[in-house]
């Protein structure tokens, strides 16, 4: 069981004079959900940028299923099965919902320039399979009836769902979700919690950045708290959340100062 899928050691990243991450280390076991919380500016989203290869760390190592990925271009990291989503949803506005999803599928022969002409029937058969898979995932997220709409016409919450659905099309092994509950109403959030739990049952590993603590507690097997670019505390969610240091980081006051 204890199979480490992601190991981050001592990563550091500065932007000008500001040190966003300063010797941050964490370890993620396969098939678990890891929550990542911390005050604004703690370095959570920067950490996602580093893991997914969008930003290169100044120092430190990131090992994904036994392979050092620091320095690999972002698209290669994605191809290894490490897929991220964005904090502000980034739908491909001028493409339909279905096209957004179909893009996510990996190893498509039809993405080679002349393959759609030379290997027409193979590419068309692949397209039908990809479309079926996309429709299944859209059903899972209750977005199927919107499949032919432009993604730009979706609401903020729907775009969040779309982004997750698109990421799942890539059959990721590790999924990085950046504030998946932001902008979702409570009903939708409850549904999303059930869906994320189902994904874990299928063996997917997930790291979630989230400000809504109740959702993180409901989902996480392990919780990390980031503060000032380093790990402040980690462990079982209920233990971590009652740690006085965590309280202080969030509120800027000591545990004793509680009313």
């Amino acid at each position: 069981m204890a199979n480490e899928i992601l190991k981050i050691e001592g990563v550091r990243k500065g932007f000008g004079g500001l040190l966003a991450l300063d010797g941050c280390s964490l370890s993620v076991q396969e098939g678990t959900i890891v929550g990542l919380i911390g005050p604004n500016g703690a370095g959570k989203s920067t950490l996602f940028d580093l893991i997914s290869g969008f930003v290169r760390p100044d120092a430190g190592s990131i090992v994904f299923s036994g392979k050092e990925i620091v320095g690999l271009p972002a698209y290669r990291i994605a191809r290894l099965g490490l897929i991220r989503t964005f904090q502000i949803p980034r739908a491909l506005m001028r493409m339909t919902v279905l096209e957004n999803l179909m893009l996510g599928s990996q190893n498509q022969m039809g993405e080679m320039i002349f393959a759609p002409i030379i290997r027409k029937s193979k590419v068309q058969a692949d397209e039908r399979d990809i479309e079926n898979k996309a429709e299944e995932i859209l059903k899972f997220f209750a977005l199927l009836r919107m499949k032919d709409e432009y993604a730009g016409s979706m609401s903020g919450g729907q775009k969040k769902m779309l982004e997750m659905a698109r990421a799942l099309m890539a059959d990721p092994r590790l999924l990085l979700l950046d504030e998946p509950f932001a902008g979702l109403n409570p009903t939708l959030s409850e549904r999303l919690i059930e869906r994320i739990k189902k994904l874990r049952e299928k063996g997917l590993t997930i790291i979630i950045i989230e400000h809504a603590i109740p959702y993180v507690l409901a989902l996480s097997d392990e919780l990390y708290v980031l503060n000032k670019g380093a790990v402040l505390a980690n462990g079982r969610p209920d233990q971590v959340i009652s740690d006085p240091r965590v309280f202080e980081a969030y509120l800027g006051v000591g545990f004793d100062a509680q009313p």
Binding site: A78, F86, M95, E99, M102, G110, I113, A115, A167, A170
Partner: protein, 298 residues
């Protein structure tokens, strides 16, 4: 009169092919190519020079496409890692470099004297006065072929990746697509298509000189793409027909309006400019573009 119609068909067809290359780059991939005419010039000169030296025409045309495609890829590799507007600056510079190179490399191009008396396809098959009709047939077949290939590609997974790069490169990369490589591919293929139109232009004109390839030609292609609707291959072809139709029909009016030839051609550009301004105000998506594509997500 028939000859005149055939010549309109020829120019419109050749420029439609030229503009289709630009539509692939701008309409589908969001690349700002302001030096498209350079690739037309490379195609025309490569084809003519090689065929004058005994290379069979079909290989001379293909060589022009390969050379233009490689030049496009080279410009892309050099600039596409930078912000997107750098490509615009570099391509417009490149098109002038090519024109001046052709003007000054006299041993190869005869400079401003230009080249003539070169072979044309299937020349011995018909009488000289019927040749344009034959060439028009060739141009239409090539146009339909290019259109068909681009339509298949645009609707294929390859075209889907291009559109994703155009809409939001970061998303594309986050899903494992090598966005940079796709931009280079699009630039290279669009440039090769421009070279093909250049070869056809050389066959039609029977005489080429570097001043056929002024920067304004690039912007004619832009007018065609925008008029028809960016991202619509059919719109681009209609845009080409409308623009050349307009240029050609207004030529008849010259006898009735007391303008000098130079001021009447300036007046035509003024009218085109006003039409474009009107289009942007009342139908910004172009004739065949989809309005939703402009309004969603704003």
């Amino acid at each position: 009169m028939l000859d005149y119609l055939i010549s309109i068909m020829l120019t419109a067809g050749i420029y439609a092919i030229f503009a289709l290359g630009l539509n692939l780059q701008w309409g589908y991939s969001g690349l700002l190519n302001f030096g498209h005419v350079a690739f037309m010039a490379i195609g025309a000169y490569t084809t003519v020079i090689l065929s004058m030296n005994g290379v069979p025409l079909i290989f001379a045309v293909l060589a022009g496409m390969v050379l233009a495609g490689a030049s496009g890829a080279f410009l892309g590799v050099a600039t596409l890692r930078l912000r997107e507007d750098y490509l615009a600056i570099v391509t417009i510079g490149f098109s002038e470099i090519i024109r001046f190179l052709l003007l000054n490399w006299s041993s190869l191009t005869r400079g401003s004297f230009g080249l003539y008396g070169y072979p044309r396809p299937l020349e011995g098959m018909v009488a000289h006065e019927d040749y344009n009709l034959l060439l028009a047939g060739i141009v239409i077949i090539v146009l339909l072929l290019v259109y068909a290939i681009l339509e298949i590609l645009a609707k294929s997974p390859w075209g889907r990746v291009l559109k994703s790069v155009r809409d939001d490169e970061a998303v594309s990369v986050s899903l494992g697509k090598n966005a940079f490589s796709y931009k280079v591919q699009s630039l290279a293929l669009g440039s090769a298509i421009a070279a093909l139109s250049g070869s056809l232009l050389a066959f039609y004109l029977q005489y080429i000189n570097p001043n056929n390839f002024q920067p304004i030609e690039t912007f004619y292609a832009w007018i065609m793409v925008i008029l028809g609707g960016s991202g619509s291959n059919r719109g681009t072809i209609v845009g080409a027909i409308l623009l050349w139709g307009f240029f050609s029909t207004t030529r008849f009016l010259e006898g009735y309006i007391s303008f000098s030839p130079s001021s009447s051609s300036a007046a035509r550009m003024v009218v085109i400019g006003m039409i474009l301004v009107g289009l942007m105000m009342f139908r910004p998506q172009g004739l065949f573009g989809r309005k939703e594509e402009l309004t969603v997500g704003k």
